[in-house]
Structure formats: C-alpha cells, structure tokens
Amino acid sequence: MLSLIRAVIGRDLRLAMRRQADIVAATFFFIIVVSLFPLGVGPEPEQLRRMAPGVLWVAALLATMLSLPRLFADDHRDGTLEQLALAPQPLALIVLGKVIAHWLFAGLPLVLLAPVLGIQFDLAEDALAVLTLSLLIGTPALSGIGAIGAALTLGVRGGGVLLSLLVLPLYIPVLIFGAGAVDATVTGLGAQAHLSLLGALALGGVFFAPWPTAAALRVALE
Amino acid sequence: MIHWNSLAEFLAMGRHGPYVWGSLLVMVLLMVAEPMLLLRGRSRLIARLRRQHRAEAAERGQARAGDRSMANWSND
C-alpha cells in the first residue's frame, strides 16, 4: 500500500521535474501576483503591511489552483487514468499519492518562498514565522480539497475555469484561518487557535478528500 | 386596525419607500417569472418531443414497410 503511494508520488514528481516549467512557474506565478498588488494599490507601507497576510494567502491559493487542472487532465487524456482506475488497489490511495506529489511541487515551494516575499511587505519577524507556518499547514489542505474539484471537472470542457468556481468556495475557510493566523499575530492576539483549526482542515483535506475524488474520477471515466 | 393613515404614507414607507418596494418588487417579479419560464420551457419541450416522436414513428413505419417487402410478407 505504501509502496503504491510511493510509486505514484515518484512518477508524478519525475513528470513534474521533466516538465520543469511546472515547478518553476507555479512559484513564479505566486511571486508575480504578490508583486502585482503593490503596483495596483500604491506604495504606502502601512497599508501594505495590513494587506500582506491576505495578499500572500490569496496568491498562494490562486497559484495552487492554477496547477490543479493538470492534476488529472494529462492522465485522463493519454489513457493513464483508465489504467490507474483498473489497478487492483483502491483508487483513493492512488489519489492520495497524487495529492502528496501535487503538494510537493505546488505547495512546498510557496511555503519556502513566503518569508522572502513577506519582507517585501515589511512584515515583522514573528508574523513572517507564523505566515510560513500557516502556509505549511494550510497548503496540503488546498491540494487535497482541490483534487475533488479537479476530478469533478475532468473531461468537462471549459473545466479549467469551472474548476475555480467549484473549488474557491471550498478554499475559503482555509484562507480565513490562514490569513487570520498571521493577522492575529500582527495585532498581538495569539495565532494558536487559528493554526489548530487550520491543522484540522488540513487533516480533513488530505485524508477525507481522496474518497470523493476517487468517486468523481470513476464518474468521469464512465 | 390598518397601520397606515393614507396611501401616500404607505407608499413612502417612512422615507424608506425605494428600498422596501425595491425588495418586494424584485422578489415578486422573480417569483412570478420563475414558474412562467418553467411553463414556457415545458410547453416548448412538449412540442419538441411530439415532433420527435412523430418523426420517429414515421421513420419506423417506413422501415417496417421496407422489411416486409424484402421479407416477402412473411409472417408479421
């Protein structure tokens, strides 16, 4: 069982490496969106500092979301998904592997980059730490929940944009607790409560989401 | 019994007329429009289905006639 998950992760990571663009560009999308805001809003530091948690989290959310359509689409188009569905093991396990792989190349880089970008917004050190921590806890939830949307819109034409419609409402709690944790730190309240709730969401997202995802994939293949 | 003294007062709603009537109007409008649209959709659907069914019946009739001629009027 573990070996299966490892095989899936290995394959997906190798594909991502091979495509390169995937890893580099999802990250750069994050960077660019975050850098766009000061351009659109104006340069006052006070205002920027107050926007920072929200902007960084929204950007992380959008960056994750942008890489979602490809989560299953390539496998679907070239017939690999049928092979996976016909594998003897439960499809949900394979999905779990793919979710982990997705996080490794779409979520993790954002976590690593967040402190650097936070500096652009003049965030204090403790806020930077909480920002990074909140992203570390929250991004797996984004990958897990996103997988449901990706599976539901699979093979549906216009799926890419429909996907965001389905997934964004589901992302909102993650966004609120994530940005809330940083905000709470900035305003001096503790981030504890937000972070635990975020952790609960992440656990749910990673371990509960593969089941509806697998069901949706089977529907898509019918 | 009735709370209002005049129609004008009723319509003005204590300076909140546009808001109150705007709410009521849109709500009633949409709640009337929805069943109307449904009824229209339904009658169109029925007309379309009737047309389809007639066309199919005609097609089938022809097909059956063709079968028979080929089968030399064998039983049925």
Partner: protein
C-alpha cells in the same frame, strides 16, 4: 412495513411520481397564495412600525424567509444527492437538479433584500459580516452545482458528479459559517454589526412565519413543476412519456 417500502419505491419511479406531482402542484400553489397574501397583508398593512428602524424594517418579511429557504433548500438538495448516490434511484438526481435553481433564486433574493435593507440601516450596501459572507458563498455553491451539471451532458454522469459536489458542499457550509464568524470577531470590532430586531411584536412574528410558509409552499410547487419537466426530458424515450404525450393531443 415491507408494504410501505414497496409503496415508497413505487413513487420513487418517475412514471408514477409524474402524475402524483401533477396532482399536488395546484394545492401547493393555492397554499402559497393564501399564506403569501396573509403574510404580506399582516406585514405591510397591519404590523406596527419598529421603534428603531421605522418602516424600513418591513423588508424583514421578505428577507428572512428568503434567507431561510436558501439554506434549507441546500440541505434538501444534499439529502436527495446522498440518496441518489446510495440507492442509485433516478428520482433523487432529478429532485436535486430541480431544487438547485430555486435555491439559487432565494440566495440571490436574500442578498438583494439584505442589501436594500443595509443601505438605509447601515449606510452601506454590503459589509463583510459572517452571515452575509456565508450567504454569498452559498450562492456560489449553488451556481457551481448548476454550472457543473450544465457542463456535463450525460444526465446520469451529471447527477452523480453534482451529488458528490453537493455533499462536499454541505460539509463545508457549517465550516464556512463558523470560520467567517471567527474571522470577524477576532478582528477589532467590525465597524458595523447586524442589529438584531429586538423582541419582536407578535404581529411581526406572525407575518414573518406566514411569509416563510408561503416561500416554503412556493418552493415545493416550483420544484415539482421543474422535476416534471426534467422527467419528460430525460425519459422522453420511454413508453409512458410517449403515451402521455399522445394522450394530450
């Protein structure tokens, strides 16, 4: 016991549900009209004005029923979706798709009436309050459901995909509601807060309840009408639809 079960399944088949629904619709329309006229009559003609909000508060007779219905319909929709997934009955999927547009309509009406209420009361059309935000997201969930079903043209697939989405959404709604509430209260006090109507006069309460009942009946009637259309469309090749349409000529 088993008898009742069989009855249930008989009505769960489109063929027998269709005429049954047809017979029930006029009754629900009638009830909706009666409750509506009574509720609006009490609310707009008889009820006294509110001490704090003056006459503007009368939007409550529209706003609260619409808000309630929008949330309740989502629950019912998710219920049908779940039964559809579990028992693979055709009727369930049809009911879920029939309810969604009405639910979306009420969600929109809740936003609309709320916004029109907010302008005179709070001085702004919109604030990012927990209830308002979750209502907005509820509208998005409805639209997502409708868009997903519209994008899949095999009805069986559309039903199942929609059902999965509805179920995931129903888990999410309480999470959203509480998360938004947290978000709001943990910030420094919001500049405006939802002023709850103080202990309501009995008259107001009655008006509101009657209006809510009217919306309830309306929803049932419209959902039944829509499910009948969906049945005709989906079952157009079955003998009973053919017979039905022929009979009507």
């Amino acid at each position: 016991m088993s008898n009742r079960l069989i009855n249930w399944f008989r009505y769960a088949s489109p063929q027998s549900f269709y005429p049954l629904a047809g017979r029930m619709i006029p009754w629900f329309w009638g009830l909706a009209a009666i409750f509506g006229v009574a509720g609006l009559g009490i609310g707009f003609l008889l009820a006294p004005s509110d001490a704090q909000q003056g006459e503007g508060y009368r939007i409550i007779f529209l706003h609260v029923p619409a808000s309630w219905m929008s949330m309740f319909i989502y629950l019912v929709m998710a219920f049908w979706a779940a039964t559809g997934l579990a028992f693979n009955t055709r009727l369930s999927g049809m009911m879920a798709s029939a309810l969604a547009p009405t639910g979306a309509l009420f969600a929109f009406l809740s936003l609309w009436t709320g916004a029109l209420w907010g302008k005179p009361m709070w001085g702004t059309w919109w604030v990012w309050d927990a209830r308002l935000t979750s209502e907005l997201i509820l509208l998005f969930l409805y639209i997502g459901f409708i868009a997903l079903q519209a994008a899949i043209d095999d009805p069986r697939r559309a039903d199942r995909a929609g059902a999965i989405l509805a179920l995931v959404g129903v888990v999410n709604i309480p999470i959203i509601y509480f998360s938004v509430q947290w978000w709001n209260t943990l910030h420094q006090g919001a500049s405006v807060s939802l002023t709850k109507a103080p202990s309501m006069a009995a008259m107001m309460l009655w008006g509101m309840l009657l209006c809510a009942l009217a919306c309830w009946m309306y929803s049932i009637a419209v959902a039944l009408m829509r499910v009948r259309v969906i049945m005709l469309e989906r079952e157009r090749h079955t003998d009973w639809v053919r017979a039905l349409l022929r009979g009507k000529e």
